[in-house]
């Protein structure tokens, strides 16, 4: 079947077409029009600007994703329903509904978080061009699986007992990990998005100057539950900056100090994420650990996660999508729809025809 995925939950306008047959998945197109350069100036996404940009982008992006199809029929439209920014979500949903109604194509609303998880069933995209499609064999992941979703809006641990069986077992009590990256980057004035900016500064660190060494807390590192907290970390960075104002005004030491803070902040976030995930994995005796969401594109996090899991006494498989599929995209939305569709009865499938009248945005949608 051919599925068109549409994603507009945050700052990316994305559309993708996938074709599934006999356990094989072909990604026919994966179009993303990122708005990050627009938002960089403001140090974050401005909802009104995001919505306007989505409106400008959505039709060209969808059109481009469909070019490949020629006259083939689309069997299903999948669109992100939430969570996300309401004004951004609306653009995707209304476009999808109109398309579904006009072309009489069944419509499915998809939870953005389930989309991030679904990205793990795709093997890396090496090349997508007009003549050469990715043919990905669906990866087989053993259940139960524990899934860590880390992004700008979410930090959640989800236990999966089957392909479409999700249970939330832990989450952040305040800020998301990606939000923490953004806010620390803002405090240090090093740019947006915060994750890549902090990772780049941290990678430059070579200091042996002990005066510049910093230490930050590891919030909730020792708590037995599966929750996280990142709000206090940002406050700790604030105090660190206050205390070391003289270092920051000295052009000789400034850069090194910022690099040291970035390295330590990144390590603090990584330490907590890994510790809490492995703790929960052992508690629930899972066979696989899945990492996904925008923050999963952080190199250090991927590397350290893999090493830690490899060194465990019990064998647990570790999965993380290719970097391109970690950040928001529409392939993952189409994939999630495919899994959901496969699990539906004929009655439920019939109902998809009328969904253009029913689907509503839900900015606070949960798993």
């Amino acid at each position: 079947m051919i599925i068109l995925g549409i994603e507009t939950s945050c700052d990316e306008t994305a559309a993708s077409v996938i074709k599934t047959s006999g356990g094989k998945i072909k990604i026919l197109s994966n179009i993303i029009s990122s708005q990050i350069p627009i938002h960089r100036r403001y140090g974050g996404i401005i909802p009104e600007i995001a919505a306007r940009a989505h409106i400008e982008n959505i039709l060209p992006v969808i059109q481009k994703s469909l070019e490949i199809l020629k006259n083939q029929k689309i069997d299903l439209i999948a669109v992100t329903q939430g969570p996300g920014l309401v004004t951004s979500l609306l653009v995707g949903i209304e476009t999808a509904k109109t398309f579904s109604y006009a072309k009489k194509i069944p419509l499915m609303g998809i939870n953005h978080l389930k989309g991030h998880i679904a990205a793990n069933w795709l093997s890396p995209i090496s090349a997508i061009s007009k003549s050469e499609f990715l043919i990905s064999k669906q990866i087989q992941i053993k259940f139960p699986a524990l899934c860590l979703i880390v992004s700008g809006g979410h930090t959640e641990l989800i236990l999966m007992s089957g392909q479409t069986k999700y249970k939330k077992i832990g989450q952040t009590r305040d800020d998301a990990a990606g939000e923490c990256f953004d806010k620390i980057a803002k405090l240090l004035n090093i740019g947006y998005p915060g994750g890549p900016a902090i990772a780049a500064e941290a990678a430059k660190l070579k200091t042996t100057n002990h005066k510049l060494q910093v230490s930050l807390p590891r919030p909730m590192f020792n708590s037995p539950d599966s929750d996280f907290s990142f709000s206090g970390l940002k406050t700790a960075v604030f105090y660190l900056v206050q205390k070391n104002k003289n270092i920051l005004t000295n052009s000789k030491t400034k850069n090194e100090f910022i690099q040291a803070v970035c390295a330590e902040a990144q390590q603090s976030i990584i330490d907590v994420l890994i510790k809490k995930t492995i703790q929960a994995a052992e508690k629930f005796k899972v066979k696989s650990i899945i990492l996904c969401g925008g923050v999963a594109s952080n190199n250090e996090l991927r590397k350290q996660f893999e090493e830690k899991i490899k060194n465990l006494t019990t064998k647990i498989n570790f999965y993380v999508p290719e970097r391109k599929l970690c950040t928001d995209n529409a392939v993952m939305i189409a994939m999630a729809a495919y899994f959901q569709y496969k699990n539906m009865g004929t009655k439920q499938i019939k109902k998809l025809q009328k969904n253009f009248q029913k689907i509503k945005v839900n900015p606070n949608l949960e798993i």
């Binding site: 945050c10 403001y42 974050g44 996404i45 401005i46 909802p47 009104e48 919505a51 969570p83 996300g84 920014l85 309401v86 004004t87 700008g152 809006g153 979410h154 989450q171 952040t172 009590r173 305040d174 800020d175 998301a176 939000e179 806010k183 803002k186 405090l187 929750d227 709000s231 940002k234 406050t235 960075v237 604030f238 105090y239 900015p363 606070n364």
Partner: protein
């Protein structure tokens, strides 16, 4: 205006609880303070005081989050934590209470809030609205908005909290 100094996260949290007990519903609370000043902590206190059990996660990403209480111990005049509810508190007046939590950090004007449907919640009798970074959306705030300013002090964990429009 009342000036309160708190010396720990715990004290800020309990100040939030105290504020919640004075609310009768329909209020808008404008919260101003820098990154890391403890706005989240104060709101957690307010939510706990209103009897909301769920975690109050940051609305920075989605701009607005709505939380509500399940039916609370209203019959006995007690909150879930066992504290006595003042007779005119929002908790004693409504079966279920909503907390509309907004973060205006990334907004440029009040119109942005109107676009995402804030008018459905402002001044609703069973709803308390809390707006972080409220100075950015000043133009749509009602006249009787309760203004709370949090200032970081030199001493670690110490905060100066100024309350305007509410007596506690």
């Amino acid at each position: 205006m009342k000036k309160i100094i708190t010396h720990s996260e715990k004290q800020t949290l309990s100040l939030g609880k105290k504020i919640a007990k004075k609310l009768i519903g329909g209020e808008v609370l404008a919260l101003n303070g820098e990154l890391g000043s403890g706005k989240t902590v104060l709101i957690k206190g307010i939510a706990a005081g209103l009897g909301i059990k769920k975690h109050i996660t940051s609305p920075t990403f989605v701009v607005m989050k709505i939380h509500n209480t399940d039916s609370h111990g209203k019959k006995h005049g007690l909150t879930q934590t066992g504290a006595k509810i003042p007779r005119k508190s929002v908790l004693s007046l409504h079966k279920s209470v909503y907390l509309c939590h907004i973060d205006a950090y990334r907004l440029s004007s009040g119109q942005d809030l109107i676009n995402i449907g804030v008018k459905d919640w402002l001044a609703k009798p069973n709803t308390v609205t809390v707006i972080e970074w409220a100075e950015r959306v000043k133009n749509i705030l009602p006249k009787d908005t309760i203004v709370i300013k949090i200032k970081l002090c030199k001493k670690k964990n110490q905060r100066i909290i100024n309350l305007m429009g509410i007596k506690i």
